[in-house]
């Protein structure tokens, strides 16, 4: 699953895309009997994404940052396979991947999101592979299809990381811990690691609220998508408090994180309130102010998003984003199709 870099010929990119596709087909083929027996879920994902940045007045085919692994025009799948013994579940296998158009190289590039085996011994659930570190809102908020950037997109933690983790739910909430590579989407082993733990009280879908406390420490790499921005890992320590709340047709998520990265103070305050309207909440309006301190500088980001569900399979999203990186405003449109096969 290599992603060819920007330099060099087009052939490596094509080869990696072909290898990626062939590997995915082979893996899914291995489970064909399971598919027939309905022991699994397989979804097709298609998305079209376009953006216009008023400064410098440019059309982009990505949602947020060119190098990042967020929304780009692409084709993907989401595969879940239950593993069971005679009278009990043993675990779950999850693979979620995309082949996206990369504007920088003008080539298709593979992206791997989920690639984990989650087992269910009696004392806890354990995962191994590529999944979410036990850190903040990103560990429970699935940003896979969304336009509005979350904390990991701002550089605070990782949306997915390679390693192991465990979690256990209790009547009052749950606990989770993970030990991961601290490199994000790609796997590098250069003395980098990220240990994270989160404890939370309340279950959003059940109680209407949830409060989580996260602690993390390690030596992490600066990656953006599959791009390694700095070859050396930096010391990382952080504590975070996250809060999710749902009441009637209102939802709100917030996170505060403070710590140190590479010897400098780091801080994030993030809030995403949302209002669902129309029958079945088909239309959702969200705001998202965020205040950050990174590498000694204060930054802000202010976003607003609309989501409309055309039907069970097709969603349209629109985002307006303004941040301190430049003077302009970014408009993003997405059509997202997610269909069970």
């Amino acid at each position: 699953m290599s992603e060819a870099g920007g330099a060099g010929s087009r052939r490596p990119g094509r080869r990696s895309a072909v290898r990626f596709g062939a590997a995915c087909l082979a893996l899914l083929g291995a489970f064909a009997p399971g598919l027939r027996a309905q022991s699994s879920l397989l979804y097709l994902e298609l998305q079209a994404v376009g953006a216009y940045a008023t400064a410098p007045g440019r059309v982009d085919l990505f949602s947020f940052m060119a190098a990042d692994a967020m929304q780009k025009p692409g084709l993907g799948f989401d595969f879940v396979q239950r593993l069971s013994a005679e009278t009990r579940d043993i675990g779950v296998l999850g693979v979620q991947a995309r082949l996206v158009y990369d504007q920088e190289t003008k080539r298709p590039k593979p992206q791997l999101y989920n690639a984990y085996l989650r087992l269910k011994p009696k004392f806890a659930n354990i995962w191994i592979g590529h999944s979410r570190p036990a850190m903040g809102l990103a560990s429970v908020l699935d940003n896979h299809a969304l336009l509005l950037p979350d904390a990991t997109m701002f550089g605070f933690g990782f949306d997915r990381d390679w390693g192991v983790g465990l979690d256990r739910d209790f009547a009052w909430g749950g606990v989770a811990a993970s030990l991961t590579a601290g490199s994000g989407m790609p796997l590098y082993l250069k003395g980098n690691y990220l240990a994270a733990a989160r404890i939370f009280k309340g279950v959003l879908a059940r109680d209407g609220h949830s409060v989580g406390l996260s602690l993390s420490q390690g030596r992490v790499l600066e990656t953006m998508g599959y791009t390694l921005a700095d070859p050396d890992p930096a010391a990382w320590t952080a504590a975070g408090l996250d809060w999710s709340f749902a009441w009637r047709n209102l939802e709100s998520r917030a996170e505060i994180l403070a710590g140190r990265r590479g010897g400098a103070g780091t801080f994030l305050a993030f809030w995403r309130p949302g209002l669902s309207l129309l029958e079945e909440g088909r239309l959702k309006i969200e705001l998202q102010p965020a205040l950050m301190r990174r590498a000694g500088d204060w930054d802000f980001s202010l976003g607003s998003g609309l989501t409309y569900l055309f039907n069970a399979d097709l969603a349209g999203r629109f985002m307006v984003l303004r941040d301190s990186a430049g003077p302009g405003v970014r408009f993003v449109v997405q059509l997202y199709y997610y269909k069970r096969l």
């Binding site: 699953m1 290599s2 060819a4 870099g5 920007g6 330099a7 490596p12 990626f20 590997a23 893996l27 291995a30 489970f31 009997p33 399971g34 309905q38 022991s39 699994s40 879920l41 879940v80 396979q81 239950r82 593993l83 069971s84 013994a85 009278t87 009990r88 579940d89 043993i90 675990g91 779950v92 296998l93 693979v95 593979p110 791997l112 690639a115 085996l117 269910k120 592979g129 739910d169 009547a171 749950g174 790609p186 796997l187 590098y188 250069k190 279950v203 879908a205 059940r206 209407g208 599959y226 390694l228 070859p231 009637r248 047709n249 029958e279 079945e280 909440g281 088909r282 069970a312 069970r340």
Partner: protein, 228 residues
């Protein structure tokens, strides 16, 4: 996974064996017995199964859908038994239903199934714990955004459903909200008359849940009570 050709140090070789590694994990797992899936599922089945079936020792997650079992023809039959059309985002033929088989040792002692339903402020989720005959032994509102959420979540409300089955709910018309002749469903009291829409949504979700469980889990044991 990533090949950063711009690295000048030359010591930053990424691990490139991710596909083989993933394949190894997947193929190794394929050697295990495989069943089940996800859909409208319990947030934490370990916790919830123990609570709804205190004597259970394990559970298996099953995955079913109308489109896989019978397609549009089956959907029409299910709609007839429900007494209403499937509509909206949550009610399509290919929506996945998650059903849990509950075991005590090697003995199957019951089932848990959840159903999505439109409520006043979006979706709500009604989970039923059923014994092997399809009688409600546990009632659980997982997702619920309602003015009367506290009252609907009160055990006193859920306890009114215990002991009922699809045979009882067949007489309840989910469109009119009436039971003819009045019987056990009519005796389920709405704890907040101002939230009648949500109350009726809960009753419809319960009936839909029972119809689907009868179709997918109980071999249509209650079909003989359906008067069409």
């Amino acid at each position: 996974m990533s090949d950063i050709r711009g690295s000048s140090t030359g010591r930053s070789r990424p691990v490139r064996a991710l596909v083989p590694a993933a394949a190894g994990i997947l193929l190794g797992a394929a050697a295990l017995a495989l069943y089940a899936a996800v859909g409208c599922d319990l947030n934490d089945p370990d916790r919830d199964v123990k609570r709804l079936f205190p004597g259970s020792t394990g559970y298996k997650t099953l995955y079913v859908s109308v489109s896989r079992k019978g397609g549009d023809g089956l959907l029409r039959q299910i709609e007839a038994r429900l007494g209403d059309k499937f509509t909206g985002l949550f009610e399509t033929a290919d929506v996945p239903y998650t059903m849990y088989e509950i075991y005590k040792g090697t003995e199957l002692i019951g089932y848990i199934h959840g159903a999505n339903q439109k409520g006043t402020y979006g979706g709500l989720q009604v989970f039923l714990a059923l014994d092997r005959e399809g009688v409600i032994r546990g009632f659980y509102l997982q997702k619920l955004t309602s003015k009367a959420a506290k009252a609907f979540r009160d055990p006193a409300f859920g306890n009114q459903f215990l002991g009922l089955s699809l045979r009882d709910f067949y007489r309840y018309d989910v469109v009119t909200g009436k039971e003819e002749p009045p019987g056990p469903v009519s005796r389920i009291a709405n704890p907040d008359p101002g939230s009648d829409r949500d109350f009726r949504a809960i009753l419809r979700a319960t009936k839909k849940n029972l119809v689907l469980a009868d179709e997918f889990l109980l071999g249509n044991a209650h079909l003989k009570f359906f008067k069409g």
